[in-house]
């Protein structure tokens, strides 16, 4: 037996050396195949682990629980469809939490609920007129005069825009009427009225002129109701970068730093930021990169977004500085600003630093900042548009995922405010309603009028959805001031962990037992007659969670196809050498080698080259992965950095894969040797007699 193996190995090694081309082809294919499998699976495994950390560590936790009445599946990072998912309700979170905590593998349960809100942004002239209104109220003559100059400068731009529009518009009469309004607002007579009847002037500006600058798109904010203190403690990646977390018992909102920087910031500043990222960080050229080119060509068109904030002394100061900086002939701010914002590869760096050093300090970079109160508007379950004023307590981000839109998709609000936006009253409110009912002996109060009867219409605005258009735009400052009372209203912290939630994140002590714990919990909750679903983080994250499974399937199919093609080539190569070796095999058979000796001879040959090549491939893959593991792979996009769990992926290899994959590939090669080997074993010993000519 041992002697036979010795001969087989000897013959195999000698044959491999003799048929060099075949050996190189077969060995090369197996090496590459094994390399691809080990490398691909290692990379994928690494991405899966970093992605799971991103998902688990940001909002998902290990498991998520939600109502089994839900008509849609829970999709924390979006189901891929717009609109509102019906996830049902968990009405008594305190009971659910207590039940879940009975499981010894559960370390914490965090209440959640997410929804989309609208944040109207008004338009440029709205902003300007709003500031003008407060200036007029304050009554300082000089400020008013310089503000009027700013307004006039902007109106002249609006007029020239309208005059251009008339040439291409199908309804020139309407535009002529609008131009007439602007002309009126530019006239000296118009401004003379300011002293006499300021309200009339302001209303004319706000109602007739403001709409002419076009509405900014409203901002969609995804918000997540939770227990802020608990959330910050449980999700270790969560980090406050400005301000503070929402204090216990306070209402408020934490904005995502990512959203604040990429959606809320002044559009011109964002343009500069995006260009900086492309030109300076990624060393791309504006002239060559389509998206950078688009940003650059949009910049000069957005000059109003800067000049509208410059009035009086600032206006003339910046004009003079720009004229000097640009060495331009113009004196007016508008053409100078347009010129300044026309950037290309040669001047970008200089313009960027000039913008942030000289211009940015004089304009409003963010429409609101930490400490301000914003009005979050959302549709309640009963279809009413509800507005809740919320103080911005701070900005947050998830460590390592700073540049990810997915990780920074949420803005956090306290659960109490969430419930209010959801259309559910706090216990305080319910108590009040109860008292009210008793007082007036009314048992049923119509849903839509509850708040009105409780607080009066000025505290919480409710509007039927078809009235939405009327309330578009940021509510004026006056309204905000009136909201302040509601915004600072305190609540009992116990309310965060009781009452309505939509879903909850479950954190485990031992994540390895994730699946068994999930099954245990489902049974436990069912036994307690709670109609709830428990899903793992992968399922809870929506399409994103399945992404890795999809990539893995695609990779495996691709590798499968490559391997099958490779195996066909191997099969063919062995077949060819079998033909070449007919006489040799015949001789072996003639001198007394049994058929299975011939079979074994082929198998040993394939296994020798196979294991050698595949393990070499695996070793190369391990080395390659290790090198990448120390250097890291730069994420090509912000989306991928979420999968990578940061700006770079540091892949690791799995020993199991590095050992099993080459064996599997070699075994596959063995399978494809079966047929040629079988054919060879059928060669007649008489073939030994056939003479080569």
């Amino acid at each position: 037996m041992f002697e036979e193996l010795k001969v087989l190995l000897l013959v195999a090694i000698r044959n491999l050396a003799l048929h060099k081309v075949k050996t190189l082809v077969v060995g090369g294919i197996l090496l590459v195949g094994s390399f691809l499998v080990v490398f691909g699976l290692s990379l994928l495994g690494s991405v899966e682990s970093t992605m799971s950390q991103s998902i688990i560590g940001s909002v998902a936790g290990h498991l998520q629980v939600y109502s089994s009445d839900a008509r849609d599946d829970l999709a924390l990072f979006g189901s891929g469809f717009f609109g509102r998912d019906d996830l049902g309700e968990i009405n008594k979170f305190e009971d659910v939490k207590a039940e879940i905590l009975k499981n010894e593998n559960v370390s914490d349960v965090v209440p959640l609920g997410f929804e989309n809100a609208l944040l109207g942004r008004g338009n440029l002239l709205d902003d300007l007129f709003e500031r003008f209104r407060s200036t007029v109220k304050a009554g300082a003559e000089n400020d008013i005069a310089s503000m009027i100059e700013t307004i006039k400068a902007n109106l002249r731009t609006v007029r020239s825009d309208l005059e251009n529009e008339i040439k291409i518009s199908g309804i020139p009469d309407d535009i002529r009427k609008q131009i007439a309004d602007v002309e009126q607002a530019l006239s000296d007579d118009f401004w003379l009225n300011l002293k006499r009847d300021p309200e009339a002037v302001l209303i004319f500006l706000e109602s007739k002129i403001a709409p002419l600058s076009g509405e900014k798109e409203p901002l969609y904010l995804r918000y997540m109701g939770t227990n802020p203190a608990q959330f910050a403690e449980v999700f270790k990646k969560f980090k406050i970068v400005d301000g503070e977390n929402i204090p216990a018992g306070d209402r408020g909102i934490l904005l995502s730093q990512r959203i604040y920087e990429t959606q809320i910031k002044n559009i011109v500043a964002r343009g500069f930021d995006n260009l900086r990222k492309g030109v300076i960080e990624q060393r791309k050229k504006i002239a060559e990169d389509i998206s950078l080119k688009t940003i650059a060509s949009d910049l000069p068109k957005q000059y109003l977004e800067v000049v509208v904030y410059l009035s009086g002394d600032k206006r003339s100061e910046i004009s003079a500085q720009l004229k000097d900086f640009l060495k331009a002939d113009e004196n007016e701010l508008e053409p100078l600003m347009k010129k300044f914002l026309t950037v290309d590869d040669s001047n970008f760096e200089e313009r960027f630093s000039y913008f942030y050093k000289t211009i940015a300090p004089s304009i409003r970079l963010y429409p609101f900042k930490v400490g301000d109160t914003i009005n979050l508007r959302s549709y309640t379950r009963s279809g009413f548009l509800k507005t809740v004023p919320l103080k911005i307590h701070g900005l947050y981000q998830f460590s390592g995922l700073e540049s990810s839109d997915l990780a920074g998709a949420f803005n956090f609000v306290d659960m109490v405010s969430y419930r209010e936006l959801y259309g559910r009253m706090s216990s305080e409110g319910q108590k009040e309603l109860e008292e009210l009912r008793n007082e007036v002996s009314v048992k049923a109060v119509e849903a839509g009028s509850i708040e009105d009867s409780l607080f009066g219409g000025d505290v919480t605005i409710e509007t039927r959805s078809d009235d939405k258009a009327k309330t578009a735009g940021l509510p004026s400052e006056n309204t905000v001031l009136e909201f302040k009372r509601a915004a600072t209203e305190k609540y009992d912290t116990a309310e965060l962990n009781s009452g309505l939630v939509i879903n909850a994140a479950i954190l485990l002590k031992n994540p390895r037992r994730l699946n068994s714990t999930r099954i245990e919990l489902e049974k436990q909750l069912a036994d307690a007659s709670m109609k709830l679903k428990v899903v793992d983080w992968k399922q809870a994250s929506g399409t994103l969670g399945q992404l890795v499974s999809v990539i893995r399937a695609v990779l495996l199919i691709a590798v499968g196809i490559i391997l099958i093609v490779a195996m066909a080539i191997i099969n063919n190569a062995i077949m060819m050498t079998t033909l070449e070796r007919t006489r040799e095999i015949g001789t072996l058979r003639a001198i007394g080698a049994q058929r299975n000796f011939i079979l074994k001879m082929f198998f040993v040959e394939t296994l020798t080259i196979g294991l050698l090549a595949t393990f070499l491939g695996a070793v190369l893959a391990v080395i390659f992965v290790s090198i990448l593991g120390t250097r890291g792979i730069a994420s090509p996009s912000d989306f991928v950095s979420f999968l990578f769990g940061g700006p770079r992926l540091y892949p690791t290899f799995s020993t199991t894969i590095a050992v099993v994959a080459p064996i599997v590939v070699a075994a596959l090669a063995l399978v494809f040797t079966l047929y040629p080997a079988f054919m060879a074993s059928r060669i007649s010993p008489a073939a030994a007699m056939q003479d080569r000519e």
Partner: protein
């Protein structure tokens, strides 16, 4: 009797028809005989040798080797018979190219098994000595001349101590002098070890060395003479 053929016919399919290679051969070869199967190519020499060598079976008639009728043997039994009872020498030597001289000769012993490395080494050395290649044991076959290769083949054929050695045109690829030497070597070994030698040839110079000449023509024995 070493080899007995009785009424052996052999038909081969050729396309849709059958070609008859052997037409009722009756032949008996005694132990220790040194026999030549002679005749022009296509006369059925190789077919006859294949049948004796258990590489093929007769269409009708019986072939018996050392008293064993081979017609109904399985492939495995035929192989065992080849391994234990027969030795082969081929026209083109058919050494396994990747193995050394020593390893080529060792191969049948390894296939047979049952010997220690020491016993094998002793046996192989003896044989290489006899064929005059004691100093070439570690050479590879392509480093040898044609005559030397055929000597290795002879050593390989004899290493298992077979009862019968079959040689198919053993001198066809050699020049006449070397051919003569090879035949003489075979004769010497034949007389020393009493091994039955059957070889085919169409070379008159080689044929004259044989003790018994069986001439074939068109698949029939036309002459069978003993010297």
């Amino acid at each position: 009797m070493s080899v007995v053929l009785k009424g052996v016919f052999k038909d081969y399919p050729l396309g849709a028809s059958m070609v008859r290679a052997l037409h009722g051969i009756d032949l008996e070869i005694e132990k220790g005989e040194f026999t030549t199967i002679a005749g022009p190519s296509g006369c059925g020499k190789s077919t006859l040798l294949n049948l004796i060598g258990c590489m093929d079976v007769a269409t009708t008639g019986t072939v018996s080797i050392e008293g064993k009728i081979t017609n109904s043997l399985t492939d495995k039994e035929q192989t065992n018979l080849r391994l234990n009872t027969l030795g082969f020498i081929f026209q083109s030597f058919n050494l396994v190219p990747v193995l050394s001289v020593y390893q080529n000769v060792e191969l049948p012993l390894l296939l047979k098994g049952g010997m220690t490395a020491g016993e094998r080494s002793k046996r192989i050395s003896e044989l290489l000595e006899q064929v005059g290649l004691a100093n070439k044991a570690n050479n590879r076959s392509h480093e040898l001349s044609g005559g030397q290769r055929q000597r290795v083949a002879i050593a390989r054929a004899l290493v298992t101590d077979p009862k019968i050695v079959l040689a198919d045109e053993p001198t066809a690829n050699l020049d006449s002098e070397t051919g003569q030497n090879i035949i003489e070597l075979m004769r010497t070994l034949n007389s020393k070890q009493k091994t039955t030698f059957i070889f085919s040839s169409h070379d008159p110079k080689v044929i004259e060395h044989a003790r018994r000449i069986v001439r074939l023509q068109d698949g029939r024995v036309i002459e069978d003479v003993r010297k």
